[in-house]
Amino acid sequence: MKFDTPATTNPIDQLKVIGKPTDRIDGPLKTTGTAPYAYERHDVVANQAYGYVVGAAIAKGKVNAIHVLDAKAAPGVIAVITHENAGKITKGNFNTAKLLGGPEIQHYHQAIALVVADSFEQARAAAQLIRVDYERSDGKYDLAAAKDGAEKPKAGGFGGDPDTSVGDFATAFAAAPVQLDATYTTPDQTHAMMEPHATIAAWDGDKLTVWTSNQMIAWGKGDLARTLGIPKENVRLISPYIGGGFGGKLFLRADVLLAALGARVAKRPVKVALQRPLIINNTTHRPATIQRIRIGTDKDGKITAIGHESWSGDLPDGGPETAVNQTRLLYAGANRMTATRLAVLDLPEGNAMRAPGEAPGLMALEIAIDEAAEKAGIDPIEFRIRNDTQVDPEKPSRPFSQRQLNECLRLGAEKFGWSKRSATPGKVRDGDWLIGIGVAAGLRNNLVTKSAARVRLDQRGIVTVETDMTDIGTGTYTIIAQTAAEMMGVGLDKVVVTLGDSSFPVSAGSGGQWGANNSTAGVYAACVKLREAVAQKLGFNSADATFADGQVQAGNRSAALADAAREKELVGEDGIEYGDLDKKYQQSTFAGHFVEVGVDAATAEIRVRRMLAVCAAGRILNPKSARSQVIGAMTMGVGAALMEELAIDKRLGFFVNHDLAGYEVPVHADIPHQEVIFLDETDPVSSPMKAKGVGELGICGVGAAVANAIYNATGVRVRDYPITLDKLLAKMPV
C-alpha cells in the first residue's frame, strides 16, 4: 500500500480497540517468567554447548600470538575459536569495527576468542587459560584533545548534512543585544539493557538458525550472512522477546557471530551470552559530545541568531553523534548555523542509543535556552513560546504536519504549578532542601519507513499476524493486536501476534521511535488485503463491507467473519510504503518536560521530587504502554542528567566502569511518581494510523529540565553532565 496522500477516515478511526489503555497481551508471560528470551531456548534444539567470550586487553594494536592449547586441553572444552580458525570474516554493513578481532585489535574488549565447552563453568574456566601476546599501539582516547583535529563527516544516514546555514549568523549574532555563548559537554553513555546480548546458533547443513536478541531482524539477518559469506536465504534469525535494546541491539553483535562460528567448529549448537563486564567495551555506546551554542535575541527575546556546533569521536569510518539536528527545527530565527565535527578516537564503537542526536543535543540546547531566556529577562516558557515556528525554519516552505509545542508547555505549566516558581534562583526552601523547578522542550522526529506484515484468518475466526517486527518492551505485541482487532472487527481474544522471525515479512523494526507507527501501518495494509479477500469470499463488495463484532456486513447482508475461512484459511499480505509526505511536511513529536528537584543545602545531594511530561505525538495507540515508554525514557533522562557517565582511562583507552555496579543507572530510590499527559492529536500526514512515536520523545529534553531545575534551586549553572554534587558544592549558596 502506497501512502502518498494524507489519510482520510478509515476503520482505525472507529477507536473501538485502538486508543484504549489495554493491558499488554504479553503481560501474563512476562510476569510469570514464561516469555522465552534468546539464551533460554532449551526447547528449540538439543545438545547445546556453552560459549564464553574472551575480549582484547588492549585498545589498539595487534595480537602477535594467541596461546589456546591449555584452554583446548581443559576439561569439557570442545573448541576454541580465534581469528586463526574462524575462516573468512567480512565486516557487516552496520558495524564499524570487526566483531572478531585479531590479529589487528581496534578497541578494548573486542572479541578475540570464544571457548566452547560442555558446560558454562568449563567454558569460563578454560577461557582464563588463554594467553595472548599483544603489541600495543598508541591510540587517541580523549575527545577534548582530539577536538581541534576533528573533521566534517560525510553526509548521509539519519543525520542529514553535517552542516547547515541560513542567513548571516555571524553578523546577526554580533549585532544581537542579548547574547549567549556557552559550551556544554555530555559524556559517553551505555545502553545497559537488562538482558545481555545472547544467541543460540545451530547449523543444519549449510543452513544457519540463530535465536537471538535483536531489534532489527532484517538488518541482523543480512549482516550475519554477509559476515559469514553465506547466502541470506540460508540464515534464519528468531527474536520474539528482547530484554531491552535502546539501540544497543540494532546491529549484529559478537554473540551472534561467535555462536555461529562456534557451532560450525564444534559441530553442535552453541549458546553465547556476552558477559556483563564485557558488554560495555565490546558493544556500542552513545558517544560523548562537546557542544558550543550561541543564541542572539532582540530586546523582546526573539531569536535573531542561533548557532550550534558539536564535536564527537568514533573509530575510523565511524559516524558522528548528530547533536545539532534538533536545533535546525526547534526554534524560529532568521540567521542560523549548525556544524558537526567528527574526531577519530580509538575507544569502542560509538553508535545509536535512545534518541541518538536529540538526547544529548537537547541536554545542551535546552540549558542554553534557559540561559538565553534569563539573559533576556523573560520567563523560559514564554521565551520558548515567543520563538515558536510552525514551519521548518531552514526551509520555510515545509510546514510541520502537527506542532503543539506551545500547548504542551502551557498545559504543563498549569498542571505542574509553574506560577509558584521563583524566577530568582536559590530562593525556595523546604527544610534542609533548596527547591527548584525546571522546564525543557522536547523534539524528536517521526521517521517513516516501509513495513510489511501477513495476516491470516482461520476457520475459528482467529486472526494471526506475522511480521518480523520486534517488541523490545515497547508494547508492539499489544498495539499490533489492537490494530488487527480494529481492522478485522474482532476482539483482542481472537488475535494472535507472532513477531521477530526473519521468515515473516520484513517490518520497520524497532529503532528511532519509528516502530509503532510504521509496523502498525504495515499491519493495517495487510488487513486491508485480508478484508478484500474476506469480502470476495463472502460475495460482498469490499468497499461497502463493514467488519464489527466478528461479523461482516454489506447492505442488508451479514455473515460471520469465520465463515469466509470455512473451507480454507485466508491470507492478506502487504506493507506500507511512503511517498514524499515527509519531504513536503516536517513530521515531528513534541514534549514539554517539567521537573522539580531538591538539593540538600549542606551536601548538594540532588533528589528529583516531581516529574511531568506533556506530549504531542499523533494518535496514541495504547495510552497505557505509551505512557510506560515515556516514563521509562524520563527515567533514563534522569540518569543522563545526574549519574550516567562512562569513565575513560585515557592512557589505556577503555571504559573503566564497565559493569552495572560501576556504571550507575537510576534505581527505584532515584525516581519519584511520574506524570504523563498526551495531547489529543491525530496526524493524518504520518500514516493511516495517524500515529507517531513516543519512545524517544520521552527522553528528549529531560536532562536539561533536571539541569534547569537544579539551577533554579541553587543558582549554580553546571554545563558538564552528569550533574553530580561535586560540581555544585563549591558554589552552593550559603
Binding site: T31, T32, G33, S119, E121
Partner: protein, 209 residues
C-alpha cells in the same frame, strides 16, 4: 597479615577446590589436562517450587545456573551474574537473595521459590496481576526479579525489618512509597518502570492490609 604468597596459595586453593583438574590445568603449558578427569561434582537436593530435585552438578554452578540451565526454570534471569542488577532474585527459605551470588551446592535441602512458583499465566499471583494491571514492566527481563523482590519486601515490612529509610528502628516500619523504593533499589529496571512498579506493589499491599 597474610604474606602475598599466602594469599596466592589461598586464592589458588579456592580455584582448585572448584575442580579436581584445576591443579593440572595450572601446570605448564601443554599439560595433558584433558585426561585429568572431569569437574568435581557434588550430589545435593533442592526443593524448588514445592518439587524436590536430586542434582549432581559441577561445584562451581551458581544457584542461578542450576535453575536456568539444569532445571530449565528460565523465569529467573541472568542480567549481570555479579549481584549488581537483581534480575536473578529468588526466595530461599522465604528470604530473597541474588541467586547468581550463591553456589547451588550451598543450598542442599533448601526450599527455593522462583517466579514460576508464584503463579502461572492462567493463575497469576496477586503481585503478578498487579504488575500487569499497572504496566510495571516493559521488556520483561527484570520483571521476575522485581516481582520476587516485591513479594519479599511486603513480608519484610510485615515482619518489622527496618530499612535505610526507616526513621524509628523501634517502631513498625511504614508501608509507604519511600520504604518500597528503598527496599526495591537492588532491582534495576533499565526500561524505567519504577513509578508503575511502586503503584503495583502499593496496590497489592493495600488489598492485603
Amino acid at each position: 597479615m597474610q604474606s602475598s604468597k599466602d594469599f596466592d596459595l589461598s586464592r589458588r586453593t579456592v580455584l582448585v577446590g572448584a575442580t579436581a583438574s584445576a591443579a593440572i590445568a595450572a601446570a605448564p603449558a601443554g599439560a595433558h589436562a584433558k585426561q585429568a578427569g572431569e569437574p568435581a561434582l557434588s550430589k545435593f537436593s533442592l526443593k524448588v517450587n514445592g518439587t524436590a530435585h536430586q542434582l549432581e552438578l559441577d561445584l562451581r554452578t551458581s544457584l542461578l545456573d542450576a535453575l536456568r540451565e539444569h532445571l530449565h526454570l528460565t523465569g529467573t534471569k541472568k542480567g549481570c551474574d555479579h549481584g549488581q542488577c537483581g534480575a536473578c532474585t529468588v526466595l530461599v527459605n522465604g528470604r530473597r537473595i541474588n541467586s547468581c551470588l550463591t553456589l547451588a551446592v550451598m543450598h542442599d535441602g533448601d526450599e527455593i521459590k522462583t517466579i514460576e512458583g508464584l503463579g502461572t499465566p492462567d493463575r497469576l499471583h496477586p503481585m503478578q496481576a498487579a504488575f500487569v494491571k499497572h504496566d510495571g514492566y516493559q521488556c520483561g527481563y527484570c520483571t521476575p526479579g522485581q516481582i520476587c523482590s516485591a513479594v519479599a519486601v511486603l513480608d519484610e515490612i510485615k515482619a518489622g525489618i527496618p530499612s535505610h529509610v526507616t526513621a524509628d528502628l523501634n517502631a513498625q516500619p511504614q508501608l509507604n512509597a519511600t520504604e518500597l523504593r528503598e527496599r526495591m533499589s537492588g532491582n534495576i529496571c533499565r526500561c524505567g518502570a519504577y513509578s508503575n512498579i511502586v503503584d503495583a506493589i502499593t496496590d497489592v499491599a493495600g488489598s492485603q492490609a
